[in-house]
């Protein structure tokens, strides 16, 4: 066990091209907030010979929204994203997911892109971006490419970033009108990494689910879409599926505490079947945070709850997330 970091070369380029010129292979690491990287360097899980800080790169901390969508740069912090009015109003699912991260310090220091680049399936940001259909922009010296986020996560700790590339931007399309979304997570404490998390987005039209996306975190080597469950619900009539005849459902649309929400809102067989299908898609492991069987079972419960909540929000027509404490 060690307290000190091993020596490494440190560079702070001021242009993206300059940074890309320095990012040259396996022995080099980019540093955004450093929350994950520095800890791993101390634990000697990664031993880069060169660390290229992105912190001096100008204009990469943007969070921009227009009619088409949301885009944020490699240096946008989690706190910036969570606090952004545009994100809260247009992409409340993302704000809700980041809001579930208890540690404000981590959110101030850590970037959204860095969170994804760690490549952990337990990320809270990733499922929200999966459900929202986000894309990742990767920039190399010679070329630039954009891939769906589902192609970004390859395995535990492995992403699609090539040795000479940086992630420069995340692009998120605007959710369709009439949609509602919900993020739910179970963790030991409010500052812990998820045992299980789920993000769902539904859009409702003419009393039926027009579209459904269900993303699961922490239950497979990568975040994952519960495709089977989604197709079970697509085109299914909403009232029946969500049991929303119950007024408690709509009233509960924005309640923070799950404890009070699903109460008295019996879940219909439609959602239950989808939730079960989602649980089937999960291939969790047992570790210090939970057991495989608990995780699998909780996928069912959370998906069911999240679908009920998202549906209620879609029907209530409002789903903005409140600003976090200390942010106006």
């Amino acid at each position: 066990m060690h307290r000190v970091l091993l020596p490494f070369e440190f560079a702070e380029p001021t242009t993206v091209r300059g940074a890309l010129a320095l990012i040259d292979g396996e022995k080099t690491r980019a540093l955004a907030g450093g929350v994950d990287l520095v800890l791993r360097m101390r634990l000697r899980q990664v031993l880069p010979e060169k660390v290229v800080s992105l912190q001096k790169l100008p204009h990469l901390d943007y969070v921009r929204a227009d009619d088409l969508g949301l885009a944020f740069g490699a240096l946008a912090s989690l706190r910036q994203l969570e606090a952004s009015r545009a994100v809260r109003e247009g992409w409340p699912l993302l704000a809700e997911a980041i809001g579930s991260i208890g540690s404000v310090q981590v959110k101030v220091q850590g970037t959204g892109v860095g969170n994804l680049c760690v490549g952990t399936p337990a990320s809270d940001v990733a499922p929200a971006l999966y459900a929202l259909g986000a894309r990742v922009r990767l920039t190399g010296l010679a070329d630039e490419r954009e891939i769906p986020i589902e192609e970004f996560f390859l395995d535990v700790g492995k992403t699609a970033v090539r040795p000479h590339e940086l992630v420069t931007e995340i692009v998120v399309p605007r959710p369709p009108a009439g949609s509602g979304a919900a993020f739910m997570k179970l963790a030991k404490t409010s500052e812990d990494i998820a045992k299980v998390n789920v993000a769902v987005m539904v859009s409702v039209g003419d009393g039926a689910y027009a579209d459904v996306s269900i993303a699961l975190g922490s239950v497979a080597p990568t975040p994952l879409r519960a495709v089977e469950a989604e197709s079970l619900l697509r085109m299914a009539p909403v009232g029946e599926a969500a049991g929303v005849g119950n007024p408690a459902g709509a009233a509960a649309a924005n309640r923070v505490s799950p404890a009070l929400e699903a109460t008295g809102n019996p879940v219909s067989p439609g959602l239950e079947a989808a939730a079960q299908a989602a649980a089937q898609a999960a291939v969790p492991i047992s570790d210090v945070r939970s057991t495989a069987s608990y995780r699998k079972e909780m996928v069912r419960v959370l998906v069911k709850d999240a679908l009920a909540r998202a549906t209620a929000r879609a029907l209530a027509g409002r789903s903005d997330v409140q600003a976090p404490g200390g942010v106006s």
């Binding site: 030991k188 404490t189 990494i193």
Partner: protein, 816 residues
């Protein structure tokens, strides 16, 4: 009583006295019946240490830099059980900047035990403390065992040197389960202890024919349970600095909780030198919670300093601390209890299997104290207690806040509820009926309880939680009070009671002294030995001193933690500091007061009895306009140009064969999500029999902090050890999950003040107690909500869900 107090602000607590209970919720301490009668005691005065801690100005051991100081680091074993075939230190020694590399070959050949608190045991009891380790081990007995150490010019070099030490191990079969360890054929961890039995302790107050009593009982209940290895999780990781002085003496700086006993252990058990050859200085302690009742890295620092001839600072990382030598001891326990139909306890039996881990440390004393507290709270004609302590290849455990009580209470208090259910009695009434009270034997039976406000604690706590309205009763279907009766979310309430010693008189040396020095400006230097480790002792003792002398709070400065300056004391533990050291301080304060009055009487030309002191001023009681400042008397006493000069000082002491038990009731209200198994604590109420709250703000924070730690113990904190490798898997705060502010429920504190005749101004202890009732009251609330019982801590959602799945469902149950 009020009259008497008015006339005599010095108030001799030994004359007894009671006051109606007062309570504090938030905001604290408003309705105190005795307020106004004291000038310092009973006031929520700011603690003297917190500003420096909050602003970062406090100097901790890690901040200490001495000229020429080296950094020491320790090489730990990667294996749980391994023979050391060879250690090659040549490459490490050859590294530039390395001053020393040491292994088991370089350590004194005296075996010792880490528990320095044990030095307070009477000699016959100390015999049972296994002397089973060297500073560096000759065999690896757990993952993290200390194999070698390095001193170098800086941390980087020291850690590089550690990487260059080549150890050849031969791995041995290891055993991690204490029941397995007892089986024949299990790997032997210490040659001197066959069968891995580290010790067997019979409860000294066992009595009666257990089998007969149980057979004759109308009902017998049995409950088995097991606590987790909760980690003290002090914010300051372990650290020590040692320097051998030019005169041959040794100075040690460390956050140890018992400086004088640490000095004794170091001198007598490790180095073979005189106690006077060591000066032990307690640095600012960044949290103790029992971890610092043992040696941490001090012996390594001392040895490296000796060998290099330079001061050495040794520190550890958080991961090393988690994988090391201090956590709550895991105890597997069974309680059997016999009761009559009418709800009278006829017999209690406790059996403990205690997992010491690789070395003995506190596992014996903690088992003994567990039995005292657990078997000592209820009245029972027949009592039987026995603890077996086992060596395993798990990390060494130690003492932790509550010291056996949170371990035992988790099991006992569930058994009590089960017995109450058999009798069809409200568990609150059952406890009232069977709990001991004033005049009865305390947990240490030769001692008689001189005060006990348990009944008041129970009644006030019950009122505050809404016991009458919320407790479902044994027959009723559960969850009725939840937002959806019988549905997914179920609510319940549960309770627990406890008794805890204030100090250790009777079973441990209970001896403290205090020195007071009245300086020329009327300010006071108070020298005491206990360390301020966050419990607020500097403030409480200053309040007692100021009150006792009639001075102002801000006139008192406390000097602590330097064995060359302070008088003997057994340290900060056993919820004793305010009670025991407070008595020593009050004794000294009264003597100073008497001296001041005597000199003032000369000046004011009256008798000392006609005088009083308040706010630093002596006045004639009959004519308060006649005054003389204490400062004037103090100055005059020093700058005396005749022959009557004297720097006014006094030494006070506390010594006792009693321990003034305090009592407490805790109540939890919870809501269980029966689909996720998540227990949400809605509210926790704790009512504590404090005797007198010297500083109600401090007492309340202490109980709030205890509730916080108790909630973590109940729900999330778990030192998880890999069952194949013995490695601690939760070795950082990223994986060992303590609660944050976001997770805290409402905690309400009630202080019941019925002064005990033996405490300073009637005060009793509180330090450890806040943690004890939380887990059992939640466990009992879980039964009230869902009719399930959890047998091990923490009570995770995974366990709750499994128990729900196994439980017979009540008819109206429609949850998942």
């Amino acid at each position: 009583m009020r009259d008497a107090l008015d006339k005599n602000p010095g108030f001799d607590p030994r004359s007894g006295g009671t006051s109606a209970p007062s309570t504090t919720g938030a905001p604290p301490a408003t309705s105190r019946t005795i307020e106004g009668e004291f000038s310092c005691v009973g006031k929520p005065l700011p603690r003297p240490d917190v500003a420096a801690k909050a602003t970062g100005a406090a100097v901790y051991g890690a901040d200490l830099v001495l000229p020429g100081m080296l950094t020491g680091r320790i090489l730990t074993s990667p294996y749980a059980h391994a023979k050391i075939l060879s250690i090659d230190t040549s490459k490490a020694k050859a590294l530039a900047g390395v001053a020393a590399v040491i292994t088991h070959e370089d350590v004194p050949k005296l075996r010792f035990t880490r528990s320095v608190m044990a030095e307070g045991l009477p000699p016959f009891a100390y015999e049972g403390e296994n002397q089973d380790q060297f500073i560096l081990s000759d065999k690896a007995r757990y993952v993290g065992d200390w194999i070698a150490a390095v001193a170098a010019v800086d941390t980087y070099t020291a850690e590089k040197a550690l990487d260059l030490i080549e150890v050849e191990y031969e791995q041995l079969p290891a055993v991690f389960d204490p029941e397995e360890a007892l089986k024949p054929g299990s790997p032997i961890i210490h040659e001197g202890w066959p069968g891995n039995v580290a010790g067997v302790i019979d409860h000294p107050f066992s009595r009666g024919d257990l089998d007969k009593a149980l057979a004759d009982s109308d009902y017998v209940v049995e409950f088995r349970g097991r606590n987790s290895r909760q980690k003290q999780a002090h914010l300051e990781p372990d650290v020590a600095v040692a320097r051998w002085e030019p005169d041959g003496r040794l100075t040690v700086w460390s956050p140890n909780q018992n400086a004088h006993l640490a000095k004794k252990t170091m001198a007598q058990r490790i180095l073979g030198i005189n106690e006077g050859d060591i000066r032990w200085i307690t640095t600012t302690v960044g949290g103790g919670f029992g971890a610092r009742l043992s040696f941490g890295v001090e012996p390594v620092a001392v040895l490296l300093a000796k060998i290099t001839g330079k001061p050495v600072k040794v520190f550890v990382t958080r991961e090393e601390d988690f994988s090391g030598w201090s956590s709550r001891t895991e105890q597997r326990q069974t309680i059997r209890m016999g009761v009559t139909k009418g709800g009278t306890i006829t017999a209690i039996e406790q059996r403990i299997l205690s997992d010491a881990g690789a070395y003995f440390s506190h596992s014996g004393t903690i088992s003994a104290v567990n039995m005292q507290a657990t078997l000592g709270v209820m009245r029972s004609p027949v009592v039987s207690g026995k603890a077996t302590i086992v060596y395993t290849n798990n990390p060494t455990s130690s003492g932790m806040r509550g010291y056996g009580n949170p371990e035992g209470s988790f099991v006992l208090q569930q058994a009590i509820d089960m017995a109450a259910e058999k009798c069809g009695m409200d568990p609150l009434e059952f406890r009232l009926k069977n709990a001991k009270g004033t005049g009865e034997p305390s947990m240490w039976e030769p001692v008689t309880l001189t005060s006990c406000a348990l009944e008041t604690c129970i009644r006030l706590g019950a009122e505050r939680i809404g016991w009458k309205e919320k407790w479902h009763g044994w027959g009723a279907s559960t969850g009725a009070a939840g937002p959806s009766p019988g549905g997914r979310y179920r609510r319940g309430v549960g309770m627990s009671i406890m008794t805890h010693a204030s100090g250790a008189g009777g079973f441990l040396l209970e001896h403290s002294s205090a020195i007071i020095k009245l300086d020329e400006d009327g300010s006071v230097q108070l020298a005491v030995s206990p360390c301020e480790m966050g419990q607020g002792i500097l403030g409480a003792l200053s309040q007692i001193a100021a009150e006792g002398m009639g001075l102002r709070y801000e006139d008192v400065h406390v000097i602590t933690g330097d064995t060359d300056v302070t008088l003997f004391d057994i340290g900060s533990h056993a919820s004793r500091s305010t009670y025991a050291i407070g008595n020593a301080v009050l004794d000294a304060a009264r003597q100073v007061r008497a001296t001041v009055l005597e000199r003032a009487a000369g000046i004011l030309e009256t008798s000392p009895r006609a005088l009083d002191i308040r706010g630093g001023s002596v006045f004639v009681k009959a004519d308060p306009t006649q005054t003389v400042a204490v400062a004037e008397i103090a100055r005059g006493a020093i700058y005396d140009y005749g022959l009557e000069g004297r720097h006014i000082t006094a030494t006070g002491k506390h010594q006792a064969l009693t321990h003034c038990p305090n009592f407490q009731a805790g109540f939890s209200e919870i809501e269980v999500d029966t689909e996720t198994g998540v227990i949400k604590v809605l509210k926790y109420v704790v009512a504590h029999d404090i005797g007198r709250a010297i500083n109600p703000l401090t007492v309340e924070s202490c109980l709030q902090g205890g509730a916080y730690q108790g909630l973590g113990y109940a729900l999330t904190e778990d030192l998880i050890i890999d069952e194949h490798t013995g490695k601690v898997l939760t070795d950082s705060f990223a994986t060992y999950k303590m609660l944050s502010a976001l997770d805290m429920p409402e905690v309400e504190v009630i202080l019941v003040e019925e002064p005990d005749p033996s405490g300073p101004y009637g005060a009793k202890g509180v330090g450890e107690t806040g943690i004890t009732n939380v887990a059992p009251s939640i466990a009992n609330a879980l039964y009230d909500a869902c009719r399930i019982r959890i047998h091990s801590l923490p009570m995770t959602p995974e366990k709750v869900l499994a128990a729900l799945a196994a439980a017979p469902q009540s008819p109206d149950y429609n949850g998942g």
